[in-house]
Symmetry: C2
Subunit: 335 residues, 2 copies
Amino acid sequence: MMRQNKRPTIYDLARLAKTSPSTVSSVLNGNWRKRRISEKLARSIKTLAHEQGYALNRQARALRKDRSGIIGMILPMYDNRYFGSIAEHFEQMARDRGLLPVITSTRRDPELEAEAARAMLSYRVEYLVCAGTTAPDQIHDLCAEEDVPSLNLDLPGTKAPSVISDNYTGAYHLTAQIIRDLEDLDVHGELAFVGGRHTDHNTKERLRGFNDASKAKIETRIETCGYAADKAYRAMADLFDQTGTLPSGLFVNSTISLEGVIRFLGDRPDVSRSVVSIGCFDWDPFVQVLAHNIHMVRQNVPQMMECLFQLYDNRERDAALIEIAPILQLATSRN
Amino acid sequence: MMRQNKRPTIYDLARLAKTSPSTVSSVLNGNWRKRRISEKLARSIKTLAHEQGYALNRQARALRKDRSGIIGMILPMYDNRYFGSIAEHFEQMARDRGLLPVITSTRRDPELEAEAARAMLSYRVEYLVCAGTTAPDQIHDLCAEEDVPSLNLDLPGTKAPSVISDNYTGAYHLTAQIIRDLEDLDVHGELAFVGGRHTDHNTKERLRGFNDASKAKIETRIETCGYAADKAYRAMADLFDQTGTLPSGLFVNSTISLEGVIRFLGDRPDVSRSVVSIGCFDWDPFVQVLAHNIHMVRQNVPQMMECLFQLYDNRERDAALIEIAPILQLATSRN
DNA sequence: TTGAAAGCGCTAACAG
DNA sequence: CTGTTAGCGCTTTCAA
């Protein structure tokens, strides 16, 4: 028997069960015990709902309760393991709390970020997480207008709690390792920093670690050319053109930038042999197993997300900076 | 001056503008021209709305219009470029159509897939795209109960239109290339297929291409051990244990499986030198630039998504199979 | 132990 | 050209 008609509502069920919509509602959403509805009625309504294929309309509930049950997240892209892992953990932890996770990517573009935030707010998200967004404070303001709390992840803001990696320390150790490699090999070239934006917090902190670790030890050059692979490729070309030789050590600011760096090195085998040690602030399994001479810093996603949802659970709203130590994964072999 | 109170509604604006809610509504949602509301009133309402910081409540609109403006997508994971790229294209194309994209990952688990579908349906998604899902027909049934159309991507179903890669042809060419490599090197070992599930359509089709291309040319072994990297690692160990030697050619069924394969080869350099040619049905930029001896098949995501949204735009609902040719990317060098 | 009724914010007849 | 009104499906007092 085909049921052509629309999905049944609690009114339909009430009619069939010869009871009232409010009774059906309370039975179906679980607070029938405190309404002291008889076990028997409750059970019969539940089986009826099942038979009729009843399904809750959460839009209606959201409108009435003024709580959508949606939690939003904005992130740059899905083109690396870091943000992919963040997305997966976020989804899981949101679902554990009975929330619908809604994630959207905005390519580090503040315009797109604001547009995405507005779209989510118009669906009345209850919370908005800004992961690696360029303009978290702007998003915070948008949220504040609607009294929606926001949280920052990976890149900090000044108006909401932020959970980020300890970029300074991670970069310091990574840089120190590269320098040690050069010393071990008795190589006396330069050290370059490639990728990222000199305007973003993470890049600034990593540069600080980079500079502190290299100070008075080695000449450095900085190419904060953006994250994109193509830009890193061109930055490498620039680096070469400036002096006619490539640096001996390379600090690369993300796997995406690393993509461009490696492509450049592959395209120019003649000039690339002067690069003897590479470190990347970010992690990718293929790099780990294929390039045995690249050190990587792996951000601790599970711990960061744990921390983020603790803030969520406590309804924390005051700006604060929480730094999580990333993990330095040394190259498996040395050439 | 702080505005503590909640966001204004069209009723508030109507009161302030000394007009009616329906007038405000029509002005704000754009069909005021056909209501022939005076230019002047329209403009004044618009500026008022702006001043008051009015924002549309889409939950309310959705309830009233019985159209949520949400399009859903279910996919396995974000741990590879293929699904990452699918997610990004999906978001863009959904936004182009004024829809809110909601994507969720379900680890190829039919239980989770059904649960995710139900969650989205309870928020009244207008359309649901199953990308690489294990049980697309089950999801289709769930959707059909609510009269919500569904579409399949990457992995086909029998009940809704499906856009997938041409797995057979892609696998055939990839296999042929591996065999050519062995011939060129005058190697006479075996050829193995590693990764994927022998129950899923893609793996079956790729196996068919693999078998047709290798038939009567070379001995083959099949290890459809699942996609996970760890499983592929163990499959490699099994392959070795069976005969005390590794195959000369390897057809790997995804980048995730490739991760495990490469890890195994790296862990066992003693036995791995017998592997002289590898092909992977999937693409990753790091593999491309770091492993110069691995051929890859890159699925044509832009074209697949173009095709998918054409089905969406035409409100296509009948089952059909559309195959998009993937691109064979040959290894850049040969050892 | 249960029902009636109001209302969340919006849209769309229908009536002027 | 604009206002009144009903109602989308649900939750929640309040009353019985």
